[in-house]
C-alpha cells in the first residue's frame, strides 16, 4: 500500500508538538506577566488630554499651590473634589485675563456650565475607596499619585491594580508619614522608616494587617 505521508512528516509531527507547547508557554507567560501590567492596558503613565491644558507642574511645582486649595474635600470625604470654575477664577479674573488658552474657563464661568475634565484615576466600581481615611492616617498624596508637581498634563502614576493596593495594605508601615508631611511632594522615606513607620502606625491606630487585607475592607 502506498504511503500516505512523506517521510519527513515524522519530524514535522514532533516539531509541531514542541513548537505548539513553546508558543503556548511563552505566549501565556508574556501575556500574563507583562501584557496585563503594561501601560497599554492599564493606562498608567499615559497623560490624558483635558479640555484645557491645565498644568499641575506650573501650579503646584512653580507657584506652590497646596493640593487642598483645589481638592478641598480630600481630608473629610471619600472624594478629593474637582474644583468648580469659580476656584480658577479666583486668580484668573486677575491674571491672564485675556489669554486665549483660558477662554473655556471664562466661558464656563459666564454660562455656569462646568468644564468637562477627563477622569484620570478611575477605580473599578466594586472597590470602595476613601481619600479622607488615607490622608488622615499618614498616607501622603505622592505615595499614590506620584510627583504631581512635575506633571505638565496629569497622568495616573500607578496601575490601580489590586496587587498595587495590597503592597501598602500588607505593609503599611513602609509608607506612613507624619501628619505635616502628607501634602509634601518631595517626601522620601527616611533611613529609619521601618522604626518610624511602626511608631506612626501605633500613633495613627492603623488596624491589623488581617483587617487591612480583609475582602470587605475594600469590597463592601
Amino acid at each position: 500500500m502506498a504511503q500516505i505521508f512523506p517521510k519527513n512528516f515524522n519530524n514535522l509531527a514532533k516539531i509541531s508538538i514542541i513548537v505548539t507547547a513553546l508558543v503556548v508557554a511563552i505566549g501565556g507567560g508574556v501575556f500574563n506577566l507583562i501584557v496585563i501590567r503594561s501601560s497599554y492596558l492599564t493606562q498608567a503613565q499615559v497623560a490624558i488630554e483635558q479640555p484645557i491644558q491645565f498644568s499641575h507642574k506650573h501650579h503646584v511645582g512653580g507657584l506652590g499651590l497646596d493640593c487642598r486649595y483645589c481638592h478641598t474635600s480630600v481630608e473629610d470625604s471619600a472624594f478629593a473634589g474637582i474644583p468648580p470654575t469659580r476656584t480658577c477664577m479666583n486668580c484668573h479674573s486677575q491674571v491672564w485675563v485675556t489669554s486665549p488658552m483660558l477662554e473655556p474657563v471664562r466661558s464656563s464661568f459666564e454660562t455656569g456650565k462646568g468644564l468637562t475634565w477627563q477622569r484620570v484615576h478611575n477605580l473599578a466600581d466594586f472597590a470602595y475607596f476613601n481619600h479622607s481615611i488615607h490622608v488622615n492616617k499618614g498616607v501622603g498624596c505622592s505615595s499614590c499619585h506620584g510627583k504631581v508637581d512635575q506633571m505638565p498634563l496629569m497622568w495616573k502614576e500607578n496601575t490601580l491594580q489590586m496587587e498595587w493596593c495590597l503592597q501598602c495594605h500588607r505593609n503599611p508601615e513602609k509608607v506612613l508619614r507624619p501628619k505635616e508631611e502628607i501634602f509634601n511632594m518631595e517626601w522620601e522615606p527616611p533611613a529609619d522608616q521601618e522604626v518610624k513607620g511602626r511608631e506612626l502606625a501605633k500613633q495613627y491606630n492603623i488596624p491589623s494587617k488581617e483587617l487591612l487585607t480583609s475582602c470587605s475592607t475594600c469590597h463592601r
Binding site: 500516505i4 505521508f5 515524522n10 509531527a13 500574563n32 496585563i36 496601575t159 496587587e163 495590597l166
Partner: protein, 466 residues
C-alpha cells in the same frame, strides 16, 4: 493485558450454557472490522440519524441563545436570589458530571477487573463521559456571570490581584477534580482509539479521509513494539482513572457537605453521590446505546449480556442511592436536631413535596422492576426505566440544591425558587449539544473498539501446535 491472551487462554474456559455471549457467533477478524468500520466509511447515514442531528442542532441553539442573553444581561436573568443562590445551574452541573461516571467505571475498573463485556461498550461510554463533562463545565463557568474572569477565580494563575484562589474551599478542589477527570478521560479515550484509527486509515478510500485518520492514528503500524507500548500506557491510564471514579463525585459532594446547611452537611454524601453518579451514568449509556444498537444493527456486538449486566449495575447502585435517601430521612429524625428534622420534614411535605416523591418513585421504586429477568431483557421497558432514572437523578440534585437552601435558618429569609425560561433553555441546550456530539461521534469514529472485540473471538485463541 489482552496481548498475552494467547497464553491466558491456554486453559479451557468453562462453558456456561445459559450465558449469552459477548459477541454473537459467526464472526471473524475480517467481519468485525468490516461491520464496525463500514458504519463510518461505507454505509449511507441513516435518515433517522440525520433528522436526529438536525433536531439536536436546533436544540443546541437554545444554548447559544441562553448564554447570549446571560452574558448580555447578567445572572439576573436567572431565577436565583437570596436564599436560593444555586438553582438549575448547579443541579444540572452535578447531573452531567454524574452521567459521565459510567464511562470511567467501564473503562477503568471493569478493565482492571478483567470484565470482558466492557469491550463492546467502553468507547461509547467514554465518548459519553467526555461530552457530559463538556456540558457540565458550562454551568459552573457561566454561573459566575463573567466567565472570562473565571480562569483567575478557578485556577491558580499569577494575576494582578496578588491573590490566589481559596485552596481550603471544596469549590477549588472541584476545579482540579473535574479538570483531571476531563483530561484523563480524554487521554484514555484517545489512546484506546489509536489502533482503530489505524484500521480506519487503512480502510478509507478517500485520500483526505485517509490523511485525517492517518494523522490521528499517529503513525500506528501495529508493530509488536507499538502494541507493547499501547498496553503499558492503557493499563497505566486505567490505573490513574480508577481513583477518579470515586474521587470526582466525592469532591463534587464536598461542595455541599463541607458547608453548614442542613441537608448538605452530611457524611453520607460522598458514597451516596458516587453511587448516584454510576447509577445515572449507566442509565444514560443505555438510553443512548439501545437506539444506536437498533439503528446500526449492532446486535452481534452489543448483546443481551451487555444490556443485562448494565441493568444489574443500575439495580445495585439504585439500591445504594435509595438506601441513602432512607438514611437521610432516618438521621433527620434520629439526630434530634430541629433544623435537620425540619429539613427532611420540609422535603417530604413542604412546597417541593411533589419533587421529593417523584424522586423517590423514579430512583427508589421504579428500578425495582429490574429484579425481573424478563424486564432486564426487554429493551423497550428497560429504555423506559433508564429515562425515568435520568429524570429521577436530575430531581435528586434539584432536591439537594434547592430545598436545602430555600428554608434558611431564619424564617424571615425563607423564599422560593422557580427557574426562568433562560435556565430551562440552557439546560435543554446542553442536552442538544450532548446528543449532537454523540451523533457526530458515531458517524466519525468507530463506536465499538474493533481490535478489542477481536480478542474475544475464537480466532484469537490460536495455540501453537505441538
Amino acid at each position: 493485558m489482552e496481548a498475552n491472551s494467547a497464553t491466558a487462554h491456554q486453559h479451557q474456559e468453562p462453558v456456561l450454557k445459559d450465558v449469552i455471549p459477548v459477541v454473537n457467533p459467526g464472526h471473524n477478524f475480517e467481519t468485525v472490522s468490516d461491520k464496525i468500520s463500514s458504519i463510518v466509511l461505507r454505509e449511507r447515514t441513516p435518515i433517522t440519524l440525520i433528522m436526529a442531528l438536525g433536531i439536536a442542532f436546533l436544540v443546541m441553539n437554545l444554548l447559544m441563545a441562553a448564554l447570549t442573553k446571560l452574558l448580555y444581561q447578567g445572572v439576573g436573568v436567572w431565577g436565583l436570589n437570596t436564599p436560593v443562590g444555586w438553582g438549575l445551574d448547579i443541579t444540572t452541573f452535578v447531573w452531567w458530571i454524574g452521567i459521565g461516571h459510567a464511562g470511567t467505571l467501564i473503562s477503568a475498573i471493569l478493565l482492571l477487573m478483567g470484565q470482558k463485556w466492557r469491550t463492546s461498550i467502553n468507547r461509547f461510554a467514554e465518548a459519553m463521559t467526555l461530552f457530559a463533562v463538556a456540558c457540565a463545565a458550562i454551568f459552573p463557568l457561566f454561573h459566575t456571570g463573567r466567565p472570562w474572569f473565571a480562569a483567575y477565580w478557578l485556577l491558580p494563575i499569577p494575576n494582578t490581584m496578588a491573590l490566589w484562589p481559596q485552596f481550603r474551599s471544596p469549590l477549588m478542589w472541584d476545579v482540579f477534580a473535574i479538570s483531571t477527570y476531563g483530561s484523563v478521560s480524554l487521554l484514555f479515550w484517545y489512546v484506546g482509539l489509536i489502533p482503530d484509527l489505524g484500521t480506519m486509515r487503512d480502510r478509507a478510500k478517500n485520500q483526505i479521509v485517509k490523511m485525517i485518520y492517518g494523522m490521528l492514528s499517529m503513525g500506528w503500524r501495529g508493530e509488536a513494539r507499538h502494541w507493547a507500548r499501547y498496553e503499558t500506557i492503557y493499563n497505566l491510564l486505567a490505573g490513574l482513572a480508577t481513583p477518579l471514579v470515586v474521587s470526582v463525585h466525592t469532591i463534587v459532594s464536598f461542595d455541599f457537605a463541607v458547608s453548614v446547611i442542613p441537608g448538605w452537611h452530611t457524611t453520607i454524601f460522598p458514597p451516596y453521590f458516587v453511587a448516584g453518579a454510576i447509577f445515572s451514568g449507566f442509565a444514560m449509556v443505555l438510553t443512548l446505546l439501545l437506539p444506536a444498537r437498533y439503528l446500526f444493527n449492532l446486535h452481534d456486538f452489543v448483546t443481551m449480556r451487555h444490556i443485562e449486566n448494565m441493568a444489574k449495575v443500575m439495580l445495585v447502585t439504585g439500591l445504594m442511592v435509595f438506601y441513602g435517601y432512607n438514611m437521610e430521612a432516618f438521621f433527620g429524625w434520629y439526630c434530634g436536631n430541629e433544623y435537620e428534622f425540619y429539613m427532611i420534614y420540609n422535603r417530604m411535605t413542604g412546597p417541593y413535596w411533589w419533587v421529593y416523591w417523584l424522586l423517590i418513585f423514579c430512583n427508589g421504586v421504579a428500578p425495582q422492576v429490574l429484579w425481573i429477568k424478563k424486564v432486564r431483557q426487554n429493551v423497550y421497558i428497560l429504555w423506559g426505566i433508564t429515562i425515568i432514572v435520568n429524570i429521577g437523578m436530575w430531581f435528586e440534585r434539584f432536591i439537594i440544591v434547592v430545598t436545602s437552601l430555600h428554608r434558611d435558618f431564619m424564617p424571615s429569609v425563607w423564599g422560593m425558587y422557580a427557574p426562568t425560561i433562560w435556565e430551562w433553555m440552557l439546560y435543554a441546550g446542553t442536552i442538544g449539544m450532548f446528543i449532537f456530539l454523540m451523533i457526530l461521534f458515531v458517524r466519525a469514529l468507530p463506536m465499538i473498539p474493533m481490535f478489542e472485540i477481536k480478542t474475544l473471538l475464537p480466532q484469537s485463541k490460536v495455540r501453537h501446535k505441538e
